[in-house]
């Protein structure tokens, strides 16, 4: 007991006084334990990898960049506590990606924090939370997003589907929460204008991460006669869905957001769905520019996992650029202004820019399918021997969706 308290006292005092100005600190608030830890860890390593590149090149304005990993257990309330911890340790930048619920809580928290603590503002870099609200109704000057939002991805996906006349009947199956609901509405709306001839034969939502056996759902898909399925499912739901589909001999094409997530490739391989599962991403290692392929190989050699978040590379690169341009890392308003509208060469190739209106990063998107590796393709997933193959590249211009954001900028 006493020990614990002594430790507590020591920590609290230390945490309170740790205001060392030297390194530029970024608080990384994502799950590092429990079910979400795999993706959280992946993100952390990804960003660490990007930061190491900058530090090896001498840092920023003569200062090192340091990432403070903080475990938020994918809990929005806990995330706020951890963000506060990061700020107390001197971080002026928070980055997060896993879960839009957390992202919405964080952006709200940071807006309020900045309002209440003028002169000590904090920026929030979002590398994976895709709720469109973050750059629309709930957009904030302090928030920047490098991942394509759900509507951008759906725009890209439907633009590709437009070119596939063999799609006639589509079944929508999604998780019953805001992201799943968003995917379902977006798919309906966009298909209606782009491919009015497609019949939507089913529109299903199932509870989030609670279903143990998807075979009843598969039976329904089967009964509907669908030839393609659109799903925003991720995690175990995705894996279970694929598995149940393969078991029942369901012959459809899967258009997904997150088939590439942890466990997905294994399930697809097991199900034997060769090149029938598609996903929509901002970078594909097997077809990326050489520099990206080199980094990917380096990353895999170092960490044993794929570089899942090319956007994380973009995030850190643009952050470095903005700090240099602003000439300071401490006046985050200047850094934010430098980021607005900034153009860069995207990690995987091509041009990209940070849209000023809503702080959404715009870049080319890729549609991929999963199957046995082609000749010359280097990277397989989860040791399955199968890998992702680029099917189509959707130009950034074809991914743009308008924003309703009315950004409030500080004076």
């Amino acid at each position: 007991m006493k020990k614990v308290f002594a430790g507590a006292v020591a920590c609290l005092l230390l945490c309170g006084t740790a205001l060392a100005a030297d390194p530029i600190k970024i608080g990384f608030v994502d799950p590092l334990s429990g079910g979400g830890a795999t993706t959280g860890e992946g993100g952390l390593k990804n960003l660490q990898f990007a930061v190491d590149i900058i530090n090896n090149a001498g840092g920023l304005l003569g200062r090192k960049v340091e990432i403070i990993p903080l475990d938020n257990k994918v809990n929005p309330q806990e995330s706020l506590v951890q963000a506060q911890k990061a700020i107390d340790q001197g971080a002026r930048y928070i980055t997060q990606g896993q879960g839009s619920a957390v992202a919405l809580a964080l952006t709200d928290f940071i807006s309020k924090y900045n309002e209440r603590n003028p002169g000590k503002e904090v920026l929030y870099f979002n590398y994976a939370a895709v709720d469109p609200a973050l750059t629309n109704a709930k957009c904030s000057f302090w928030h920047f997003r490098w991942d394509a939002s759900a509507d951008i991805k759906m725009a890209a996906l439907t633009n590709f589907m437009k070119t596939r006349p063999n799609i006639k009947k589509i079944y929508l199956i999604n998780q019953d929460y805001s992201f799943g609901q968003a995917v379902r509405t977006l798919a309906r709306d966009m298909l209606k204008t782009k491919r009015p001839d497609i019949e939507i034969v089913g529109d299903e939502v199932h509870p989030l991460q609670k279903v143990t056996d998807f075979s009843p759902y598969i039976a329904k898909i089967k009964a509907s006669g669908a030839d393609s399925v659109i799903t925003g499912d991720w995690g175990q739901d995705m894996a279970l869905l694929m598995k149940a589909g393969a078991e029942a001999g369901l012959q459809v094409d899967w258009y997904t957001y997150y088939a590439g997530g942890g466990g997905g490739p294994t399930a697809i391989k097991q199900a034997g769905l060769e090149h029938r599962v598609f996903d929509i991403v901002e970078g594909n290692a097997n077809s990326a520019v050489e520099s990206a392929q080199k980094s990917e190989a380096e990353f895999r050699a170092k960490y044993g996992i794929g570089l899942w978040y090319p956007r994380g590379m973009n995030e850190i690169a643009m952050f470095a650029e903005a700090v240099k341009k602003a000439g300071t890392a401490d006046d985050v308003k200047k850094v934010a202004s430098a980021l607005e509208g900034m153009k860069i060469t995207v990690f995987d190739g091509g041009e990209g820019y940070m849209r000023k209106d809503d702080h959404q990063f715009i870049q080319d998107m890729y549609l991929r399918s999963f199957g046995p590796l082609d000749k010359g393709a280097k990277f397989d997933e989860e040791n399955t021997g199968w890998g992702w193959k680029e099917i189509a590249r959707i130009n950034s211009a074809d991914t743009i969706v308008p924003t309703t954001c009315k950004m409030e900028r500080p004076n």
Partner: protein, 415 residues
């Protein structure tokens, strides 16, 4: 000293501690953490009205914390929008009313039975409410929850409650009030009958009390205070989301209360402080923190079912008798193998964690309490296992001595 004076001193001390703490721990995160501790103390104490005082094991207590939190979030948004002149410090009362309402509603169903049936109904209601939270989107706001803003209220004596420190004092005030009220509750006729129902429900019926009614009222009280805690959580985070009423939160309050000690009023207070601290800080030190949580819980259940408070209470007569210092040699003797055992266990877990989880991506070299070790080598493992075995054997030898010393001193005090 009369009991009244004793109580006065105890509560005065509590007030001083609550006021002084932020002056001692000055950082923003310390304030955040202490605010959270205050909330969790109320929550755990409210849970102990059920578990410790009435003998009802609930697996769904977070339902009342969370539902009240949501009601408060909506109420806060409404008040801010309509510009109703209610200052923020009165908001927790809304939480209390929400707790009262939902406690009475679900209490009618669940308190008809005690024992296992009660536990199972609480589990069922918990799952039901948590799952509904994702379906009924307009009230629960989906998985992102309902955000709110605590500064949109008329100032209260000039305070706007933007800074965390002001929120801390708000929470501390309510924490003090709730502790006092819940303590008072244990000393009323009703409080005593809760204990009677816990000890022997049958006999309670034969002295004129309907055990069902006693359980119901206890349940409602428990929900009211859980509601206050939920309201304070909403104020603190300016956000309420569905995770707060799920099984995880219900498990957490059980853990806090049990580790703190269900048999004493102060137990849940201790538990709330310790577990909140560990929950927020342990994950900075080790990724296996959840494993430690589980192990800690099991160890408490197996070896100290009275929790920390029960263990402390065991020493109270010795402290009073002025003989507690006589235990020091025996405890010091036991402390050595105990520390070895703990060190061995922690080392084993950390090494195993390194090898099984991180070695592939980060290599097998790790830092353990300042030392750099290679988990792939045999030496650290041998050291860990050695510590574990020696600690266990040593403890086996030393423990009878501790018991002996304890018994001897207790006997002398008794005389």
């Amino acid at each position: 000293m009369s009991t009244g004076v004793k109580h006065f001193i105890a509560f005065a001390a509590l007030a001083i501690i609550l006021i002084a703490l932020p002056k001692v721990f000055v950082s923003g995160s310390a304030h955040t953490m202490m605010s959270l501790m205050g909330i969790m103390i109320i929550f755990a104490l409210s849970y102990n009205i059920l578990l410790g005082q009435t003998g009802l094991l609930s697996f769904g207590h977070a339902v009342y914390y969370g539902l009240a939190g949501f009601c408060v979030a909506h109420a806060m948004n409404y008040i801010a929008r309509e510009k109703i002149g209610v200052p923020l410090p009165f908001i927790p009362l809304i939480g209390a009313f929400a707790g009262l309402f939902f406690g009475a509603l679900f209490g009618l169903i669940s308190t008809r039975r005690a024992g296992t049936v009660f536990s199972m109904i609480s589990l069922g209601i918990g799952e039901l409410v948590a799952s509904s939270a994702l379906i009924l989107r307009s009230f629960f706001g989906g998985e992102e929850g309902i955000p709110t803003n605590r500064t949109k209220f008329p100032p209260f004596f000039g305070y706007k409650f933007g800074p965390q420190i002001e929120v801390y004092y708000l929470i501390a005030f309510w924490c003090f009030v709730c502790i006092a009220l819940m303590y008072a509750l244990t000393r009323t006729p009703f409080g005593r009958m809760c204990n009677a129902v816990r000890d022997n429900p049958e006999r309670a019926e034969f002295v004129g009390y309907s055990t069902q009614r006693v359980r119901f009222i206890a349940f409602v009280f428990s929900a009211i205070f859980a509601g206050v805690a939920g309201a304070l959580a909403t104020i603190n985070f300016e956000l309420m989301n569905s995770q707060s009423l799920g099984a995880g939160q219900s498990g957490l309050v059980l853990l806090m209360t049990y580790v703190g000690g269900v048999g004493h009023f102060i137990g849940p207070i201790i538990g709330g402080v310790i577990i909140t601290f560990l929950q927020i800080s342990l994950s900075d030190i080790t990724k296996a923190w959840m494993l430690y949580f589980g192990l800690m819980f099991i160890l408490v259940v197996m070896f100290s079912p009275g929790g920390v408070a029960g263990w402390l209470a065991l020493h109270q007569p010795l402290l009073k008798g002025g003989r507690i210092f006589r235990l020091i040699p025996a405890y010091a003797l036991a402390l050595v193998p105990m520390a070895m055992l703990a060190a061995g266990l922690i080392m084993t877990i950390e090494l195993a964690h390194r090898m099984l989880v991180d070695a592939q991506s980060d290599g097998s070299v790790m830092k353990l309490a300042g030392w750099t070790v290679d988990a792939a080598k045999a030496q650290p493992w041998m050291l860990a296992i050695g510590l574990l075995v020696c600690g266990a054997l040593g403890l086996k030898l030393a423990w009878p001595k501790v018991r002996e010393a304890f018994a001897a001193q207790s006997a002398e005090v008794a005389q």
